[in-house]
Every structure is written in C-alpha cells, then in structure tokens.
Symmetry: C2
Subunit: 365 residues, 2 copies
C-alpha cells in the first residue's frame, strides 16, 4: 500500500491526460463499473435551478402529470400541514428523507461515484505507473471484467478504498469537486450535475415551502454527496446521510485533520438506511422517496411506515427507456413491497411530464 | 445474556422500589460511579428557561462578570457577524459545538449517564434476582469498588452494554426519560435537568440570536443526550453528536425498529470529537466550548483552531468548590493546550456571576 499512498499524496494539479483516456475506457467498459456499483451497494438523478418560492395558486409540481401519484403527494402534504386537522404534524417532525442515485439524479449506466472511483484509478496510475501491473488496478485500467467477476466484491472494495481513502477530508472534497466539475455521463453526454430529475427538484422545493426538512439518505458515501448536494439540491451538508468510512483525527503538518482510513464503517443501504436516519436525525421520517433497482430503499420505507401517525412513501419506477433508462428488479422486491405496505409508485413514463428541466446549466460549474 | 435480555424485556412500569434502594447506594458508593464514568470516557451542567430574544441593548451575557473572557466572546461574535468586515463569516459556517458534561451541565460527583447505568442495574435486578449473584452486576449492586478496580474497564463497559442495549431506540428513549424525570444529583439534591449552567444557557441563546447553529458534542451517548437536550437547551435532536452504539434494523412484532446492539461503535471523546463533528456537520466549527477534566475537548478545540478564518475556543475551568465543584487535571493538559494554542479560559470563580439560574424548574418535569 505504500506506493499507492505515496501516489495518492503526490497526486495533484492536472489530470487532463488521465481524464481523456479514462473517459474512453469508461464508455467501453461500462459493465465493469456497473459491477463495481453493485459491489458498493448502490441504487439513480440532474443539477438544478434553485427552487424559488411559489404562491399557493401556482401548481407546486408542474413537471408531474395529473394523476393519483401527484394528487397523493399534494393531498398528504396538505393534510399534515393543516393546523387543527386530524393528521397535522408539527414542523419539528416534518422530516423527509430521499435516496439520491436513481431518485434525485441519474444512476445509469452506473452510479456517479463509481465513475469517480474509476477516474481516480486512472489519475493514480498516471502518477504511479506500477499500478498498471498490480491488481485490482490493472483490471480496472484494462477494463478486465473477467477479473472482477472472479475476484468478487473484495476487489471492488479494494479499488474503492485505494481511491477514496489515505487523505484528509478537505483533500478528498477537493478531489471530488474536480471530478464533479469535469466529468460527464457517457450516455447522456452532460455533466452529472446537469441530469437531475426536474420533478424531484420541484418536490424538494414543495416540501421545504411546507416546512419539511429534506434530507438525502444515499447509498453513496456521505462525503461524496456533500460535494454537490448543496449546490444542486439546496440541501445543506449536515442534512446528508450516506455510507461512511472509518475516520480518525490526525496531526498533519502541525494541523489537526480528519483522516480517511481504508475501511468502510457503515453501508447506508437496505437495513443500513433506518440506522443512518436514526443516527443523524433521530426520528422516523414522515416522507421518504426511493427507487426500484436493488430493493435498497424498502427498509427506509418500512421504517417510515412504522411511525405513529401519517407517513408517505414514494417509490420511483424507471420504466421510460425513451426519456431516461428503463430497469427493473429481478425479484420485483420493491414493487412487491409497495403493494404489501401501500407505498406510492411513481412511474416515470406516466407520472413525469418532463424528466429533465429546461435550464440544465449547473450552478457548480 | 439470555436472562438479562429477558429481564430487560420484562422491565417496565413501576421502579420505585429499585429507585429508593439505589439512590441510597449511589450516595454511598459515588466513587464506583466515578470509576464507571472514567471507563466511559466522560468529561459537567442544569435545566433551563427557554432563551428569549433580546435586543442588542440588553447585556447578552448577564450571568458573566465583566472581564477579558466575556469581552472576548462578545468581540468574537460581533466581528464574525459584521457584514463587510474582515472577519465576517457567512451564516452557513457559523457552527458552534459545545461539550455537555461539565460544560453545559454538572458532571460531578459523576456524569449523569453513569447514574443512569447504575439505576438501570437496580431496575434489572429487581426483575431478575439472579443478577445479584453475577458479575459485574453483583459488584455494582453491592458497591464493590475493589471488584471494578481489579476487573478494569471491561467490567464497566459490560455494565454499560447490559443496561443500555438489547432494546430498540424508542424503548431506550422511554427508559432514559423515566430516569431523567425522577433522579436527582445526590450532592446538589436537584433533578439533573435543574442544574445546568446559567452562563452557558445565555451563551447558547446569544449564539443562536446571531445565527449560529449550536451543536452538542458530548462524550455521553447520543441517544441519552437526545432525551433532555431539546427541552433544557433548546437544541434539536439532529444537532447532537455523542458516542454511538452499533445499531441494526430489525423487525419486532411486525414493525421495523432500530435495535441497540451490545457493542460500542464510536467513543466521542478526544480525537473522536473531530470525527463526530465531521460525520454530523461536515465543517470545522468556528466556536467550541469544553471543559477541564480529562483533556477530552482538546482535539475539538485544535480542530476548530485549524479552520481557515476566525475561530474561538472556550475552556471552562472548574475552580469554584463553594458554588459548584472544583477539579483539575493531573497533567494539566487542557490548560497547557489553552496556553499553547490560545484558547480562552473561563474560570467559574471569577468569570461567572451566577452558576445556576434563578428559575430552576425543569420544563421536562
């Protein structure tokens, strides 16, 4: 690991060369990234205009088609905010938690953080050519899927920890910001931050106008999401929940920093989501949103459903290959759970009038 | 563990008997609680009147004596909130983190959570008499200090996990609330929630009026602090950082709950504090407060000091045996660090006009 750490420490400045090369490779070997994504336990999004205050007379969700889903959302928000009504929920309990990948922004062909890991491997290899001969870097650089299929989850996790750890939090944020400002979704050919779902941006703004706290509860790592969520969703970094690395306080150059250790502490997916919510918020959310991919949001929805009093669970179903991506679960677990527990399903094809908004210029460019 | 778990599950309702007996024992064996506290890595506080908005003309810190400390605090807050000034800090970065035990409320003769653990042992033993013959419960019930001295930290941790885990988060909160509403500090003979420091309550209110977020960063467990902090400090439960247990999602009686496993995941003390702050807030605090006891707040102060731009570190020194408790560190680490890094020391004897406020009725009674 010594070389790699040196390599990480040494890296900085221009990464244009690696950038161009890895972009080509990523397009070619998207499947290996997908596998990596699976190993990391991920679940899909686009950058956004700051939500503006709207009056009650304006349609709060103009990118949603009229129908049961949109009416269900508006009816719920109206009920829980009606003072004196039977379903009134005090402001302090108006907690919404929303998944990120596949719920707020696009997660196909692969989750954005997987592209970040891949980009970092190429950056590291540009600094330390010996990585080209060492697994799992070699396989990643060559797009050798067979290697990853055989080596299993651990190889992907090794790639993850090698690229995202061994530096302090401030350095990591700078690296992630560089990535997010330059790299594009290979299929949609836009900055990742420019392909967030307009209907969900409207929903976030609508919830906040009604005094909801809108938290992100992502399978991605908390520190990665923090880099873009404030700018594209208007969500402060202390309202982000995600997977977490082991961290430690360390003095570097006479200054106390928080250091990223090469070990994953929590995976914020499936049963990990209620735990993450409890840890950061301490209350069951009354509104949750997630999506169909891997069953990753079912536990969060059950947790919300289990609160005493009204709650609403929104499950986004990616069924629109023409406008975005269409994908389902082999075991249909999320849609089955929606039927069993009464979650509301939003089918992109029929429920979303528009998928991506008109003004796609990123505010973090 | 089976019996203990059954015992925990079976416990509920009246605990008056155990309450009276253990109160006597606690007074008698305060030292064993102190040891327990040490094992848990703790660092002192009184319940509070909700801070009221005050105008700029009113002294914002009336319980503080005029002097360098008070002037330093007011000067700092004035500088960082002066728009257009050289030290102006935007609202989003006005993060304050404050230790709890010894900083906001009293931590002597022992930290409040140690009393809670002790009280729980007596409750459990009332339901399951077999505990009287099993260590470390036997020693705890009998106040057998020798046992704990010999068995070391592990025995205390066993007591902690046995009393605070094996239940879901909602059940734990109910147990902790029962305790906090009934038990009293044996030396001061008041509810714990009635012996918080009035000068610090004024400081919290002053910071908030100046658009600071006021977070607790405690060595105590996050879930215990959540039970009283909103009512006595006006701090919402999602702005509390503390030591954390391992948790898992679990279905109990058909309902998804977050279950407390008998394992400590993070100790939010010393180097753990910057990690906890990074995890929950994601920014270096510009204002921190801690106290002299065990050096537990030095790292948090260094972390704050390390931010680019202005910051303020307040170290409370308990030197007033007449009005509260006087205690120091053997190695003088906190006061030495204050000198080295330029933290501001508040000596209770000279800096605090009053220690406890006039209206000590708890709002959570």
């Amino acid at each position: 690991m010594k070389n790699l750490h040196n390599s990480i420490s040494a890296f900085g400045g221009s990464h244009e060369f690696a950038n161009k090369r890895s972009k080509a490779l990523i397009n070619k070997y998207a499947i290996s990234i997908f596998l990596l994504a699976t190993a990391l336990g991920y679940s899909a999004g686009r950058p956004v205009l700051s939500p503006r205050a709207q009056t009650g007379r304006v349609d709060p969700l103009p990118s949603w088609n009229d129908g049961a889903t949109k009416r269900g959302i508006i009816d719920f928000v109206t009920r829980v905010t009606r003072e004196g009504g039977p379903d009134f929920v005090p402001v302090a309990d108006r907690i919404a938690t929303l998944d990120n990948d596949g719920t707020l922004w696009v997660e196909k062909p692969a989750p954005v953080e997987a592209y970040f890991v891949f980009a970092r491997v190429h950056e590291l290899a540009a600094r330390d050519p010996s990585l080209k001969d060492r697994q799992p870097f070699k396989a990643a650089l060559e797009g050798d899927m067979a290697y990853f299929r055989e080596a299993g989850k651990k190889a992907f996790l090794d790639l993850f920890t090698a690229t995202e750890t061994g530096m302090d939090q401030e350095r990591f944020a700078a690296e992630a910001r560089q990535f997010i400002e330059k790299w594009r979704n290979p299929k949609l050919d836009r900055l990742f931050t420019e392909i967030v779902y307009q209907p969900m941006i409207e929903l976030l703004a609508y919830l906040r106008r009604n005094s909801f706290q809108t938290w992100i509860c992502s399978g991605g790592t908390i520190d990665f999401v923090r880099v873009f969520a404030p700018q594209i969703y208007g969500i402060p970094i202390d309202q982000i929940i995600g997977s977490e690395l082991k961290l430690e306080s360390r003095t570097e150059g006479g200054r106390l920093v928080v250091w990223r250790l090469p070990e994953i502490e929590t995976i914020n997916d499936k049963g990990g989501k209620p735990v993450g919510i409890d840890r950061h918020i301490g209350k069951r959310p009354i509104f949750v949103a997630g999506n169909v991919l891997s069953g990753g949001d079912i536990a969060m929805m059950e947790y919300s459903k289990g609160r005493k009093g009204p709650s609403f669970q929104l499950l986004i179903n990616h069924d629109d290959a023409a406008r975005e991506f269409a994908y389902a679960e082999k075991d249909n677990a999320s849609l089955n759970a929606a039927k069993k527990y009464g979650f509301t399903v939003a089918n992109i094809k029929s429920d979303w009038k528009t998928v991506f908004g008109p003004g796609q210029a990123s505010s973090i460019k």
